[in-house]
């Protein structure tokens, strides 16, 4: 007899819980690189998203609904990512956030697209938004949008004739390398050196020796933060005096913290930077540091923006319509004045690519100084 009552009690509790969940929650499934070689990237991405969710929920949620996010770890392995995205889709999420690594996105985006669930990604590889998938939305520039800006800067402002490219040999670095070389050659700049480095490489003596031998008049460095710091130190040690140009990561506060004086003089283009002299970004940086006690990188900003992108699209629709979200976001212009969480005005195109302002910056005295604000491509 007791068994029967117990079963009934459990069943009704389950109904209550399920009902409760359906009533007041916007379920977001996050799939990110929380371990393996992409752990730092994924952890930042997740931290940014969680900060955004805490802010939104504290103000009553989206259209009165609180956001609930569960985050699964892909181990930076597409095979695992594929399993997890299926698990996430089985739980019928409102939207999917992540992953960040392009390899994993190629697997997961196909499945979210088949399921018709909006997938807000952190990846920057150019081809992601060119695979014909209907539900992908970026949180940062694709490399096909950021690299032309930096190539134009090197060709026009810097008047570089021979550029050496140093890149990290993984999907992030290789994609950047291919795009920048295409963009530079299109502008008549010669590629004086093409140097591949390993992820997590420590000793850059050989690379800098090769760099010295190239006779380039500028160097483009496209590595992760720690490796960027190490190569800058090695370049300083070797007494190499060339303009050092980078894209976003090279001008990161973390690189400056790790490289010290070797980072001075580094110049480049910054898409997302917590150092940008814009009030919402200053506030974001302050809040992030208060919560996590370290400086957010651009991946943390991607996670943060991802959540606010979902919020903006939902508020545009005026209802929680999972199937309609991607459509509502495409072609949408979001103003930071109305959605401060978006940090900057942004326009999303039909492929899910973004257009917004970006910056040219230079490091001096251990600080990134924004030297110029580049307008959006389409105004």
């Amino acid at each position: 007899m007791t068994g029967k009552y117990l079963t009934a009690a459990v069943a009704s509790a389950a109904v209550l819980l399920a009902g409760g969940a359906a009533r007041a929650e916007m379920k977001i499934a996050c799939v990110a690189e929380l371990s393996g070689s992409g752990a730092t990237v994924g952890k930042n991405f997740k931290a940014g998203a969680e900060l955004a969710i805490a802010e939104i929920n504290a103000k009553g949620g989206v259209l009165g609904q609180k956001i609930a996010m569960s985050c699964a770890d892909t181990q930076t392995n597409p095979g695992v990512a594929r399993g997890l995205i299926q698990k996430a889709l089985d739980s019928k999420p409102y939207a999917v956030l992540g992953p960040v690594y392009s390899g994993s996105i190629k697997v997961t985006a196909q499945l979210t697209s088949e399921a018709g669930v909006t997938n807000v990604i952190g990846g920057e590889a150019a081809e992601l938004t060119q695979m014909g998938l209907k539900t992908l939305i970026r949180t940062s520039f694709g490399q096909h949008l950021s690299m032309p800006k930096i190539a134009a800067y090197m060709a026009n402002d810097l008047k570089a004739k021979n550029v050496a490219v140093v890149w990290v040999n993984n999907d992030f670095g290789k994609g950047g390398r291919d795009t920048i070389i295409k963009q530079l050659t299109a502008r008549g700049v010669k590629i004086a050196g093409d140097l591949s480095t390993e992820p997590a490489q420590v000793d850059f003596a050989a690379d800098v020796a090769k760099l010295k031998a190239t006779k380039a008049d500028a160097v483009f460095i496209y590595l992760h933060e720690e490796e960027s710091a190490r190569i800058l130190k090695e370049i300083q040690k070797a007494g190499l005096k060339l303009p050092l140009i980078g894209e976003t990561t090279l001008l990161n506060q973390k690189v400056i913290e790790l490289a010290g004086s070797a980072a001075n003089g580094v110049r480049g283009h910054v898409g997302l930077s917590a150092d940008a002299p814009i009030d919402p970004i200053r506030k974001f940086r302050k809040d992030f540091m208060a919560k996590y006690n370290y400086i957010p990188d651009h991946n943390a900003m991607k996670g943060y923006l991802g959540i606010y992108t979902i919020k903006a699209g939902t508020e545009k629709m005026g209802k929680l319509d999972s199937k309609g979200l991607a459509g509502a976001l495409k072609g949408l212009s979001i103003s930071a004045a109305k959605q401060p969480g978006m940090l900057m005005d942004v326009a999303i195109d039909q492929n899910g690519d973004l257009d917004r302002i970006s910056f040219l910056a230079e490091v001096s005295n251990g600080k990134t100084a924004i030297t110029k604000t580049l307008p959006p491509l389409k105004k």
Partner: protein
């Protein structure tokens, strides 16, 4: 100054780091047939002990002292008692697998409990460059080379000129006979584990200012130590040192003159050639015991 010399000097500096970690690796193998796949994580972890201690407001020397004590207890004594002892008699591979799991455990714990970020770490020697034979060499690298060599000399002296050292050698060569001769074999093996713990802390304090304190920094280090120890022959400390230096130098020369894209494989294949002609390693003796 030619770039060749620059590359060799830089390679020696990186190699010194590998060597320092490979010594302990070889020591553990000698004393108890332990292939410690967590050796890299053993170097990563003390840096975080020190960071936590300094975070609590302690000065560097006090933090270092605490790190030595913690490492001796956790990475020396507890590692031996809890993991190595129960598995020792079941052969090399199960224990090697357990150390692999230990590596995951340590790495993931640091990531989840502390942070996935890289942290700068204070250096004992100032981060300046000095001019050696016309090449800029970082003082930190010189310090590592010196410490690696001093460690080797001190260890060799300890092993060859003290009673304890000779007892340790006897234990390593043949524990059964050593036991019959009245040598406290257990204590000798424990001592080896403690020495390894001290070595990894020294390595950690020297290496982390260059490598940065990061949960994943042990991956490269551990593998390099493993490779260096094999090249030099597992059963010779001198071999492990030379193996470390060789690996560092060949890696740099391969990246500069052969291929950057294949830089990780070139030294391995040169070393395979070495092993095929000298299966006992460059400086190793023939294995004198069956495992």
């Amino acid at each position: 100054m030619s770039s060749f010399a620059t590359l060799v000097i830089a390679g020696l500096a990186t190699g010194a780091i590998y060597a320092l970690i490979a010594i302990g690796f070889a020591l553990l193998w000698q004393a108890s047939q332990t292939i410690n796949f967590a050796q890299g994580e053993f170097v990563m972890l003390p840096a975080f002990f020190a960071l936590v201690a300094m975070g609590l407001g302690l000065p560097y020397w006090a933090a270092a002292l605490i790190t030595f004590v913690l490492a001796a207890v956790l990475l020396g004594a507890m590692f031996k008692r809890l993991l190595v002892d129960p598995m020792l008699k079941h052969g090399v591979i199960p224990l090697a697998m357990a150390t692999m799991a230990l590596a995951i455990f340590l790495k993931e714990s640091v990531k989840d409990l502390y942070s996935a970020e890289a942290y700068p770490f204070p250096s004992l020697v100032p981060p300046v460059n000095v001019n050696v034979l016309g090449t800029n060499v970082s003082l930190q690298h010189i310090a590592i080379i010196v410490v690696a060599l001093v460690t080797l000399v001190a260890l060799t002296w300890l092993l060859d000129h003290t009673t304890t050292g000779r007892q340790m050698q006897a234990t390593a060569q043949n524990p059964t006979v050593a036991r019959i001769l009245g040598i406290p074999v257990e204590r000798m093996i424990m001592l080896t584990f403690l020495i390894n713990a001290v070595l990894v802390v020294i390595a950690s304090l020297l290496v982390t200012p260059i490598y940065l304190a990061k949960f994943s920094s042990g991956e490269t280090l551990g593998l390099a130590a493993f490779v260096a120890a094999i090249i030099g022959g597992f059963n010779q400390l001198r071999g492990a040192i030379v193996g470390g230096f060789l690996l560092g130098v060949i890696d740099n020369l391969a990246a500069a003159y052969v291929s950057t894209q294949y830089r990780a494989a070139v030294p391995l294949f040169i070393l395979i050639a070495v092993i095929l002609f000298r299966p006992e390693g460059l400086f190793g003796r023939k294995e004198e015991r069956t495992v």
